[in-house]
Symmetry: D2
Subunit: 223 residues, 4 copies
Amino acid sequence: MAKQAKPCVLVTGFAPFGGETINPSWEAVNQLEGLAIGRQESHIIHTKELPCEFNSALDALYQAIDKYHPSVVLCVGQAGGRSSISIERVAINVDDARIPDNAGNQPIDTPIVQDGPAAYFTALPIKRILKTLQENGIPSEISNTAGTYVCNHVMYGLLHYFQSQQLSCQGGFIHIPYLPTQAVHHSGAPSMSQEMVKKSLLAILNESLEYKPDLKISAGTTH
Amino acid sequence: MAKQAKPCVLVTGFAPFGGETINPSWEAVNQLEGLAIGRQESHIIHTKELPCEFNSALDALYQAIDKYHPSVVLCVGQAGGRSSISIERVAINVDDARIPDNAGNQPIDTPIVQDGPAAYFTALPIKRILKTLQENGIPSEISNTAGTYVCNHVMYGLLHYFQSQQLSCQGGFIHIPYLPTQAVHHSGAPSMSQEMVKKSLLAILNESLEYKPDLKISAGTTH
Amino acid sequence: MAKQAKPCVLVTGFAPFGGETINPSWEAVNQLEGLAIGRQESHIIHTKELPCEFNSALDALYQAIDKYHPSVVLCVGQAGGRSSISIERVAINVDDARIPDNAGNQPIDTPIVQDGPAAYFTALPIKRILKTLQENGIPSEISNTAGTYVCNHVMYGLLHYFQSQQLSCQGGFIHIPYLPTQAVHHSGAPSMSQEMVKKSLLAILNESLEYKPDLKISAGTTH
Amino acid sequence: MAKQAKPCVLVTGFAPFGGETINPSWEAVNQLEGLAIGRQESHIIHTKELPCEFNSALDALYQAIDKYHPSVVLCVGQAGGRSSISIERVAINVDDARIPDNAGNQPIDTPIVQDGPAAYFTALPIKRILKTLQENGIPSEISNTAGTYVCNHVMYGLLHYFQSQQLSCQGGFIHIPYLPTQAVHHSGAPSMSQEMVKKSLLAILNESLEYKPDLKISAGTTH
């Protein structure tokens, strides 16, 4: 199989769920399609909207990976109620859906991969990313849980695919706040502008393409 | 005394306080200087940075009012930790400073105006403003307390001046969230982009210049 | 009408509202009925459950005041979502109901007392109360808004009655958290045990009966 | 070594850390020493205070397990800022200390067990525990992160010991809120009474000793 001429990265967002009419992840990701990224614009960005469905989200993700052979895969999802760009550290091998997904499925305490490892750590340089985002004036944090819904499912599935297919990709998951237009309908909920989310995603991709070791800077939580 | 040729409005922001190096209120307000506002650009905007000091903030405010004879006076302050544009409903006649102001004063349970009324309600059409902001996709809320620090002090002092000087002005107080660059240093704190704050202030001024009765729409709290 | 032989205090709680089956205020207040309070058990405690209704709550309150001639009137209400005993500083002259009351009424931006003052400050020694509660290990705070629902309505009405009837009473309003049994149904909501609420109310009554000047200790908010 | 005559369980709490003078976990756990638990009081409770130190906490835990051969090991820690009994679902193989531990160590992004699995799922019936606690009127929740400090370290180390020593124990980790006396010093922080924490721990132990399969009830989060 011939490799693609131009190196690329893949960024995914989600379809709306949980009563929302938009998903800020796809709203932002969609704007990145075809842009060049990396030093000397070394990579182009491909994007993909994933369904918010346990059964089909990973199929769509794997197809896109197989199609594009990306150097980095960045999956992005909505975290309504969070204030900052959340850089996820770890995905766990369980689905426990508080609400049904968009296909009506609500798995409870089901492994994502039967006999898979309990968790995968991200394959992104999360501390370097954190430092870069903060230096750019973007509220951001390391998160130690991506939940137990489709977002965690996709993050786990992504990292399992890297492992099982022996792909030497970087990749991971980022949660983003509501857009201001959504927060209007969630009294008191924090939000982030689409411009800032877009800027964040570009910074994360650039940082990931640097291929330097991650930094050891403290960004943990006591609980 | 000759009246000014061109009708105007006055918008104030504050100097930084509490360890911050910027105050998002003045950062945004400062950008409005000299802009035209209202139907057919009927009014120009004057701006003024107020010191974050109990003793001198109102002097500076009153001087600006006397100088410009504005139709609307909109005072703006930082509410670190809030997520939305907070449209203040009421100011109370007490200073109770949790931290010293920028001049080192920390009044505790002191009336702002000796023998003044316990409170003044805002002289802005707050429900119309709320509706307009939300229709423009801006997270916003009615707040029933402006605190007991310099912000409440200035709001009370403003409305007392309207009353005591028999000015037929509109005016009131708006609290705004941290800027993203500030929230970086306050883990988990919500923020709002300067563009959105600026857009909010212009919408509030335009709405205030409409001189229509306020709407009766529910925006209260149970506690 | 002859004055009562034994001096007394009056403590009120509310009926449940907003879908709750109990109201922690009445659950706690109800346990105080007939207890002796004050130095040398100088006063007995009368209690009264108020309807959560704009129209009739104050009638019930005024009847109880007229009946008992209490030295102190302490009104207590539920503040679901707050973590601490909230000692209210001020009540404002407006009803703005986010939800209908138990009689189906939902007043919006209506004065509680036509031509009444914009606000009344509490007639309780709130800083002494705060200090006492904290010394007793009870999470507590001064609150600068009692909301715009029936709680604020009752607090304003109480203080207006003191004023209009020239009663030399002490009195005010305290908001309390959910009970743990309620918080079970409000994911992540803080709660306080009934024992601690009861202990708080007794401490507040005792402190109020001391008739010493209030303390000047800082307990304000910047917004 | 002869097995103990009487079956037992082991419950651990922590020493104070982070500037606190008490740790609510040990305050509550300490009260359980020697109590009988389980159907027909089948088991006695042993307790152990663990140091809040990465290096020595697990040594102390393993010594206690080796000494008592408990059927259940329940480790308990403080989660200041949480409102509910937090039943931890998973521990991850990383230390990332936001603050130094009590011995002055601050590991950053260090594996707890070199080449250990990325995570261990709890060995407690967490959904049955959740249901029982809620039926008993105790605010409680499943948590998907125990942080990256000594609490997560101990939970991971406990479950790794079960695995490496092939112990057929049940066990896991519970986070508890501040005590009210602590919350007094953390403005706005939620708290839980010691009585309720004690009642929770006994209910968790009883539920664990039932040896029934866990329930499949939804208790996940979307992020």
